[in-house]
Amino acid sequence: MSDNRFYDSPIEEVAPGNTFLDSNELVLNMGPQHPSTHGVLRVILKLDGEKVNGIECVIGYLHRGIEKVAEHRTWAQFGPFVDRLDYTAAVSNSLGYCLAVEKLLGVEVPKRAQYLRVILTELCRLASHQVWLGTHVLDIGAVTPLFYAFRDREDILNVFEKYCGARLTTHAFRIGGCRWDAYAGFAEQVLHICDDLGPKIDEYRDLITGNRIWLQRTKNVGVISAEDCIAYGITGPVLRGSGVEWDLRKKQPYSSYEDFDFDIPIGTAGDTFDRYVVRVEEMHQSIRIIRQATEGLMEGPIIAKVPKVIKPPVGEVYVSIEAPKGELGFFLVSNGSAMPYRVRVRPPSFINLQALEKMAKGSLVADVVAIIGTLDIVLGEVDR
């Protein structure tokens, strides 16, 4: 055994000293640097020819100790850290954290702020799904939709930049509401995006959905049943792709989602294709929500009265939202001081990634990449 045991995988104890020609099984290491896995994910495959016999994920390459950092920052100072979890959907994370602290404080956010939050969060869901679409399709081999998706995502990032100055890690919301009001021209720009993006999403559909190569690569690939999803604790589009009608925006509405009329797309077969269709349809529904929220944006204050130094009462809350990746939850423990006692992030990507073994076992090597893409993981969230 070499000194550098850190880089040796536990699975190699299974076939010590054999060359690949001796045994039928090949141990293949994928990552952590890889053009395909979304971030620093290491996947160790045991292959029998093309078939995957076993799969093991090694994570932790992006572990930054965010939960530990939270114990040494004040409640408001921790806001920017939360963006860095799922960095493709920073606004969503911010919403989850702010809602959790507001519940702990017992603060009610003004209606205008809630609507603004919904608009920005749904825009962020669109942006996150576009990143997913581009990279997932690129992994399967189609190089063009990536550029279309990122081109259209630019419009949304421009809105974020005008709103809060940052494109990706936005720190958009504050505890109690929003820091900035909608800028002049916000409604027009957002409605313009809604009008433009609908036909463009249909463009992606024409390029990908009907393509028979796409269908062959994604149908019956990475199938997971509804029961398995619930047993693994999987949430989000993966759960909905397996046929379970579950969306926290409808079932446990937060931040005025109950005011809006939208549908929840459900899949049937639980395969990659159904999850793809669910996410694309979710983009359409997000556009609906944004349009309703923008047209219904009323006047009013944008932030509630919150003390200068936030000191919530002693207690714990668990608040979760429907982030683009799944159920993002914040479990906050307060001991009455200005800094959190414990912040636990319930990361949807971490919990969804556990199902990789179940979904990929028995499939072919080329499908593993497709399945990682369809789980839509972001390593910032997996590792925190």
Binding site: F6, I59, G60, K68, H72, T74, I234, K308, A338
Partner: protein, 198 residues
Amino acid sequence: MPEVPDGNPPNPVPAQAATTPAAAPAAAPKPVPQPWDCELVQQLKNSYGSGIHDAATFAGQNYLVVDRAVCHDVLLYLYQQLGYTSLTDLTAVHYPKDELPFEMVWILFSMAANERVRVKARFADEESAPTVTDRWVGANWMEREVYDMFGIRFTGHPDLRRILMPDEWTGHPLRKDYDPHKQDEVWVRKNLGIESGQ
């Protein structure tokens, strides 16, 4: 070189006060724990008696504080009899000054009833907690993370090893006695070839 903190909290940034002229909605009263009594709690108390130390509601969220001897049974009971089929989260909190310093928290969820319940149990240092991977497969990685971060072992876990930290790391980072700037110098020197803290 990063500054070594002197133990005082950094200057808190003042939270934004209300900025608009219109009156912000009056602050709702701060939540306090209320006792929670309902059929579910009655059933549990009937089955486990003194094992259920407390049942309360805080900020509209129900939680149960149970004894560590019965916590596994309570979780199974909630799963089988009362329909809480989903394990949303599994984590721990460290209270170093308490007699039983580690508090395990399980957050269960019932899709049918659209209800969440938190189950908490206290454990001593060096004590093992029961695993729930026999019921919820998804608890596997969550328990590994709790072991990695807090050092709580789980009896019956199929594959208990570190998940986020390197395999040979010593120390459990999320414990309160683990300084935020601390690193395992031996591991860093051996594997990265540099001195810790560079």
